[in-house]
C-alpha cells in the first residue's frame, strides 16, 4: 500500500508519525506495510517509489522547514511522477474556491486513486461533485477527520447507526470558539479571551474562519451531505458568529443558569450555525476546546459523542481510521 501525503504541516507530520507508529499494526492486519512514496508541502516535494523513511521526512521538515529538496509549481505534475494507492490530502483549507485541495482530490480520483482528506473546503463546496467522481472512478474517499477531528461522528452515523433514522445533529464543532466562550463564562471579555486562545495556539493569527462561524459551517455542510443525503454547499448555511457576544450577554445567561455556545445544527430542513443558550449541565454546555455532538435518532433517542476536535495526533487518528477502512475494503482484514 503506497500513500502520497499532500500538505506537510501539523497534520501531515502527525499522520507521518502515526504511520510510523502503526507499522506493526498494518503488518499484522494486512501482512504488508504502508509506504509513504511521496510527500509535498507548499513549496517542496520528495518522491521515491520504493518508499521514503518517515523519520527522515520529519527530521528534514524540522531542520529546514521543507519536506523535500526540490521545489515545484504544479502539485499534480509532482504526483504524476510516482504510482500510489491513496492520496492523503491535508493542504490548508480554502472555503471560497476549494483551493489546491480540491484540485488534488479531483486529480487523484481521476487517476482512480483512493483519497483520505481532512480538508473541509473542497467537501463544503463540491461534495456532490467529489462523491460522483469517486463513484464513477470506483474510488473510496474517507473524510472522517474533516468534522470533529478525533470525534468519529461520520462513521458513527453512516455505519454504526445504519438503519436508524437520524432526525438531527446539533453540536459544538469548533474548539476555538468554545474555548473563547468558556473563558467568557468566567468573566473574561471577548477580546482578551480571543488573545489568550491565540497565545495558547488554539486560534489562528487571523481567527475570522473560527469566530465568524465559517469553520463550523463547513462541518455542518459535510454532515448535511453525508449523513442526511442533502445537496447543499457552504453558501446555504445560515451563519452567525460569536463576535457580537459580549460580557453582558454571557453574564445574563449565567445568572439564568445557562451558557452561550456556538452550535451547528443540521437536519433534513435545518442548516445553521449560531450562538445558542444552553442550560448548564446539558451535554452541549461543555467547556474548553472539546467538540461534542448530540445525534437525535428515531429508535435510540439522543446519542452524545465528544472528543478532541483538532490537534496533530487527534486528526492523525481519524486519518488512520479512514486508511484502515480503505485497506479493509481493498485487501480484506
Amino acid at each position: 500500500m503506497k500513500v502520497f501525503i499532500c500538505g506537510f504541516g501539523t497534520i501531515g507530520q502527525g499522520i507521518t508519525e502515526a504511520i510510523m507508529m502503526k507499522e506493526e499494526f498494518f503488518l499484522k492486519r494486512y501482512g504488508k506495510n504502508v509506504k509513504i512514496v511521496g510527500a509535498m508541502d507548499s513549496k517542496s516535494y520528495i518522491v521515491d517509489s520504493e518508499g521514503l523513511d518517515p523519520k527522515s521526512l520529519l527530521d528534514r521538515k524540522k531542520k529546514t522547514g521543507k519536506v523535500g529538496d526540490t521545489d515545484y509549481e504544479d502539485p499534480t505534475k509532482v504526483m504524476d511522477k510516482v504510482e500510489f494507492d491513496v492520496l492523503i490530502e491535508n493542504t490548508p483549507t480554502d472555503v471560497k474556491t476549494g483551493g489546491v485541495g480540491l484540485e488534488n482530490i479531483k486529480y487523484a480520483l481521476n487517476r482512480g486513486i483512493d483519497v483520505v482528506t481532512v480538508n473541509k473546503g473542497p467537501l463544503a463546496l463540491k461534495y456532490k461533485e467529489i462523491m460522483d467522481l469517486a463513484k464513477e472512478k470506483g474510488c473510496i474517499i474517507g473524510y472522517e477527520g474533516s468534522v470533529g477531528g478525533a470525534m468519529p461522528i461520520i462513521d458513527l452515523c453512516l455505519y454504526d447507526l445504519a438503519g436508524e433514522k437520524i432526525k438531527s445533529i446539533r453540536g459544538i464543532f469548533n474548539g476555538t470558539c468554545n474555548y473563547i466562550l468558556s473563558k467568557m463564562d468566567n468573566g473574561q471579555p471577548f477580546e482578551q479571551a480571543l488573545r489568550e486562545a491565540q497565545q495558547q495556539g488554539y486560534a489562528e493569527t487571523d481567527p475570522t474562519s473560527d469566530i465568524e462561524g465559517y469553520d463550523s459551517a463547513c462541518k455542518v455542510v459535510i454532515l448535511a451531505n453525508s449523513v442526511f443525503g442533502r445537496n447543499v454547499t457552504f453558501n446555504d448555511v445560515d451563519i452567525t458568529g460569536i463576535t457580537s457576544i459580549n460580557a453582558d450577554a454571557v453574564a445574563l445567561a449565567r445568572s439564568n443558569g445557562m451558557v452561550i455556545r456556538l452550535i451547528g445544527e443540521v437536519s433534513p430542513t435545518k442548516l445553521e450555525v449560531s450562538p445558542r443558550l444552553i442550560p448548564k449541565g446539558h451535554p452541549l454546555s461543555i467547556p474548553g476546546t472539546l467538540n461534542v455532538a448530540e445525534i437525535s435518532t428515531e429508535l435510540a433517542g439522543p446519542i452524545v459523542i465528544s472528543g478532541r476536535g483538532a490537534g496533530r495526533m487527534e486528526t492523525a487518528s481519524a486519518i488512520i481510521s479512514d486508511l484502515v477502512g480503505i485497506l479493509d475494503k481493498r485487501f480484506g482484514e
Binding site: 450577554a249 453574564a251 445557562m258 449560531s274 445558542r276 444552553i278
Partner: protein, 172 residues
C-alpha cells in the same frame, strides 16, 4: 406516542378507588393505554381502604381530547375517580438580544409576538449596561402551550432582529 394535532398535552395525577379484587389494579391502568396515554407513575395504596375499595394514585400524560373517554372507561369498570389534578405542559424558550434594545423596543416586539400567536407567560430582564459597552442586552423567557407557537415567536424575533441589526441568541 402520538398526540392529536391541536390537542392539549396534559399531565394528570388521578386518585382512583378500585374494588379490592384481583386484576383491579391492571383494570384501572389499562384504559390509560387504550386512550394512548403515557403512564409516568403508579402507587398502589393498600393501606388506604374506603368502602372496601383500595386507593390507586396514577400519574400519566394524555391529550385533553381523550380525557372524557378515559373517565367513561373508568366509570364502566366501576372505578371511582376521587380526584383529578391536571397540569398543562408548556413549552419554554429563552432568547438573549444584544444591540440597541431598550424597554420600548422589547415592548414593540412583545406586541408583535402577541398579535401573531398565543403566549402563556413572558419574562423580560435586562443586563446592567456596561460602561465599556454601548450594546444593551436583554433576556426574554417565553412559555407557550404549543410548540408551534414557539416556532412562530422564533420567526418573528429572527426577522425583527435582522431588520434592526440586533444579535439574537436562542435556546436549544
Amino acid at each position: 406516542m402520538w398526540y392529536q394535532l391541536g390537542a392539549i398535552h396534559m399531565i394528570i395525577n388521578a386518585e382512583l378507588f378500585v374494588n379490592d379484587l384481583p386484576g383491579q389494579l391492571i383494570g384501572s391502568i389499562e384504559p390509560i393505554s387504550l386512550v394512548d396515554g403515557n403512564i409516568l407513575g403508579v402507587v398502589h395504596n393498600r393501606d388506604r381502604i374506603v368502602d372496601h375499595r383500595i386507593c390507586v394514585n396514577v400519574t400519566f400524560e394524555v391529550d385533553d381530547k381523550q380525557l372524557e373517554r378515559l373517565k367513561e372507561m373508568w366509570s364502566a369498570r366501576d372505578i371511582v375517580i376521587s380526584s383529578l389534578g391536571s397540569v398543562h405542559e408548556t413549552f419554554s424558550m429563552e432568547y438573549i438580544l444584544i444591540g440597541d434594545v431598550n424597554a420600548q423596543y422589547i415592548e414593540g416586539l412583545l406586541r408583535k409576538m402577541n398579535e401573531a400567536t398565543t403566549i402563556d407567560e413572558v419574562n423580560v430582564s435586562y443586563s446592567t449596561k456596561s460602561m465599556k459597552n454601548a450594546a444593551h442586552t436583554s433576556l426574554i423567557s417565553v412559555k407557550a402551550r404549543y410548540e408551534d407557537n414557539l416556532d412562530k415567536i422564533d420567526q418573528i424575533l429572527r426577522r425583527e432582529c435582522k431588520k434592526s441589526n440586533i444579535t439574537y441568541v436562542r435556546g436549544v
